[in-house]
């Protein structure tokens, strides 16, 4: 029980690191956004797993249960998810604009192009 009780945090950390790795190691902007999303989801899972009470049930009142999971993290995460999709949409539209301006979504290419433009000026 003791070793297993921290299991959820470890999973969260593995996911978080996977997302983090994708963000910093990948040069492709779309892939970076996917990594960011994975990072976000790991945070969601962490909050939700903190709100879980063993033996409890979903926080909707019923007759045959007295113990409920904690509704507060659920509310926070509910709003966070919707904000997350809004930011994702914004990020993706930025990617499209970058593609139009630079004809590439690879970080290295974009850096090279903008450097060349700076030198030309």
């Amino acid at each position: 029980m003791n070793a297993f009780s921290l299991f959820n945090y470890w999973i969260v950390i593995i996911l978080m690191m996977a997302g983090f790795y994708t963000v910093i190691a990948s040069g492709n902007l779309v892939k970076k956004i996917v990594g960011l999303n994975i990072f976000q989801t790991s945070v969601f899972i962490m909050y939700i797993s903190m709100g879980k009470v063993i033996g409890g049930t979903a926080p909707i009142v019923t007759v045959n249960s007295e113990l409920y999971s904690n509704p507060l993290p659920h509310v926070l995460i509910l709003t966070a998810i919707v904000v997350a999709v809004a930011t994702t949409a914004l990020g993706l539209s930025l990617v499209i604009r970058i593609k139009e301006a630079y004809h590439s979504i690879e970080e290295d290419d974009i850096l090279a192009i903008s450097q060349r433009e700076d030198e030309a000026e």
């Binding site: 029980m1 003791n2 297993f4 009780s5 299991f7 945090y9 999973i11 950390i13 593995i14 996911l15 690191m17 996977a18 983090f20 790795y21 994708t22 190691a25 990948s26 040069g27 492709n28 779309v30 892939k31 999303n37 994975i38 989801t41 969601f44 899972i45 939700i48 709100g51 879980k52 009470v53 063993i54 033996g55 979903a58 926080p59 909707i60 009142v61 904690n70 509704p71 507060l72 993290p73 509310v75 995460i77 509910l78 709003t79 998810i81 919707v82 997350a84 999709v85 809004a86 994702t88 949409a89 914004l90 993706l92 539209s93 930025l94 990617v95 499209i96 604009r97 593609k99 690879e106």
Partner: protein
């Protein structure tokens, strides 16, 4: 089961696969939320993660090309950074309270009050809805405004393309994209059902899982299905962008207006007790109205964002 998720995520290579795997990943995490009793969250995550974001990412991939270049840097340095950070975090968790223990500090600050008092004070069974809409009404309003702002951002970046006139000939490459009767019939069969289901989720949110966000996303999903099967121009006839944009503003207005009305009735801002003689009825009424506002805004914003992206995939 949690471990499957980790496996699913760490394997990545081609972009298209990445996005598809991301869809699976969202479904899995939504399932985890169900197991962890967070039904409302699972609802939202499935709608948003597996539905909307995947579609948006695909649309982006269409315009940007789907092949990723091999990384030029050596992956060792990021890997080292990640490992060190991860190890540090794991070390940090050793002090965290165990999983599912009812004695955790998380469960004893304000949560007690929400769980015990909310059925009496608000009068609706779904605690998530009551906390979301009533106790934390300000947060939710701010969040609706954030979504609205994101729409503004997307529009200022890429914009919705103009609706084509009926008389103009279709673009020449549409010959390769013949109408597909089977899917169109299925879509026509399903769309009324989806919209009905959205309304059910919208107004049943007090009693079961659901509410404004989820209903808004489902409604947007119906429009997206229509767009995918009948093309963007027909969909724009169905839901003209101008109307959609007005609606997204209207939703925010309904939400904020509810607060003003409750102020005029002598309560605080967003204090629904003032809306009716009976506080409980007032609460119920207030929650219903602001959920409607949230639903309208979210649906309109999602539809508008999708139109913007779909317009980008058709041009050029």
């Amino acid at each position: 089961m949690l471990a499957i998720t980790a496996i699913a995520v760490v394997r990545f290579r081609r972009l298209f696969t990445v996005v598809m795997l991301f869809g699976i990943y969202s479904l899995l995490s939504a399932m985890i939320f169900v197991v962890l009793d967070a039904v409302d969250v699972a609802f939202t995550e499935a709608a948003v993660g597996a539905g909307i974001s995947t579609v948006l990412m695909l649309a982006t991939l269409v315009t940007t090309g789907r092949h990723e270049k091999p990384p030029r840097h050596h992956p060792l340095l990021p890997l080292a950074v990640v490992t060190v950070t991860g190890a540090g975090l794991i070390w940090g968790t050793l002090d965290m309270p165990g999983f599912g223990n009812p004695a955790d500090p998380v469960h004893h600050h304000v949560a007690d009050r929400y769980v015990i008092e909310s059925p009496r004070e608000i009068g609706i069974p779904n605690m998530v809805t009551s906390v979301l809409a009533s106790y934390r009404g300000y947060d939710t309003m701010g969040e609706v405004i954030v979504v609205f702002t994101a729409l503004m951002g997307v529009l200022s970046l890429i914009g919705i393309r103009r609706q084509r006139k009926q008389s103009t000939p279709p673009p020449e490459n549409s010959a390769t994209r013949r109408p597909y009767p089977v899917l169109q019939v299925m879509a026509i069969l399903l769309i009324p059902f989806i919209i009905l289901f959205a309304l059910y989720v919208q107004f049943h949110g007090d009693y079961g899982p659901g509410g404004g966000f989820q209903a808004g996303v489902i409604f947007a999903a119906a429009i997206i299905l229509y767009t995918l099967n009948f093309g963007l121009d027909d969909a724009m006839l169905l839901a003209p962008p101008k109307v959609v944009l007005r609606l997204s503003a209207l939703g925010v207005l309904i939400y904020a207006g509810t607060g003003v009305v409750s102020m005029l009735n002598g309560g605080n801002y967003l204090d629904y007790n003032a809306l009716s003689h009976d506080p409980l009825q007032g609460q119920h009424f207030g929650i219903l109205v602001i959920e409607l506002g949230v639903g309208i805004t979210v649906a309109a914003v999602m539809i508008a964002i999708f139109f913007a992206f779909a317009g980008k995939t058709e041009k050029q």
